[in-house]
Amino acid sequence: MVGIVIVSHSAKIAEGIRDMAAQMARKGQKIIAAGGTTDGDIGTDAVKIYEAIKTADDGSGVVIMVDLGSAILSTETALELLEEDLRNRVKIADAPVLEGSIGAVVQASLGGPLSEVLATAEDARELRKR
């Protein structure tokens, strides 16, 4: 199954999204939270994200959900640290972090390939709240 990494400035948010998404996941679905700085402050950590990607991948690839601007910068920095082989099957979703994560996890748990999981995550942009 495609793994999901959730990158947020806040560890609480990344963990909370993981917990919410896990409710919709099949057993064995990897959902890795990579939020906050090592000392528990608000921020992102490219090395933590790099480790999370490696943990999330079982060979099927990884979709990364990110919150704000600098989370993208850290995630792209993390990608640069990966060996090319793995990097080629890692995608950053252009989607809202919470809404996209839920969709991505559902699709990944259905056994969808990387491209479909990414597309489902990005469909969350069209989600309406009213």
Partner: protein, 214 residues
């Protein structure tokens, strides 16, 4: 030699610490009040890491250690940005224990370009690039004109300083300050300011130690 490189990093680190509150206050006006905190956390961690390196480590490894530590400890946008800058510079200093003038220019350019790529930004967007790009150009011109390292760094600092002043006159289009739109006008960019502070610390360090490139 690596101990010189480490001493230079230490000088930069001290300058950042001294300006912790100043940088944080600048970020309070147009961001999230953490730039000084972020940078100090990052360079505190950097100091511990580089001091733990074996003696005679090459400059590339020192700079790589700085870059890797910054990307993992700073927390804010400046972490991946400055981290990438140091990593790009490090790649040009692999195995060297002494930097030539040509390499110095290339390293500063690689660092600046690393930030441009990582941040998908360019000058005029009210970021650290408004200090770094002119500084980089001034430094390269100085070297081309065969000025001394200390002179070239002084030119770079002047250019960076003007860049910081310039950021007061423009609207942020990258980073958090861009959320404020026109309300970012009149404030100097925290990242441009920390870039200036780091360059100034490096320039002062080289001047005090009579360092020269060859």
């Amino acid at each position: 030699m690596s101990h010189t490189a480490i001493a230079a990093i230490e000088a930069i680190s001290i300058a950042i610490s001294k300006n912790k509150e100043f940088l944080t206050d600048l970020d309070a006006a147009i961001g999230d009040s953490d730039h000084g905190i972020n940078m100090t956390r990052g360079f505190d961690a950097v100091l511990i890491k580089v001091k733990g390196l074996p003696t005679h480590t090459d400059i590339g490894t020192v700079l790589k250690t700085v870059g890797m530590t910054l990307i993992s400890t700073v927390g804010g946008a400046s972490g991946p940005l400055y981290g990438t800058a140091f990593l790009r510079a490090a790649a040009l200093a692999q195995g060297i224990s002494c930097i030539g003038s040509h390499t110095a220019v290339q390293m500063l350019e690689a660092a600046t370009n690393g930030i441009k790529e990582r941040g998908k930004a360019t000058s005029g967007e009210k970021t650290m690039l408004d200090a770094l790009e002119p500084a980089c150009e001034a430094f390269a011109n100085g070297i081309k004109a065969q000025k001394s390292l200390v002179e070239c760094l002084a030119l770079a600092c002047d250019a960076a300083y003007k860049g910081v002043e310039y950021t007061k006159t423009i609207i942020a289009t990258k980073g958090r300050a861009s959320y404020l739109g026109e309300r970012s006008l009149g404030h100097q960019d925290p990242g441009a300011t920390s870039s200036y502070i780091m360059l100034k610390a490096l320039a002062d360090f080289c001047r005090h130690n009579n360092l020269e490139v060859n």
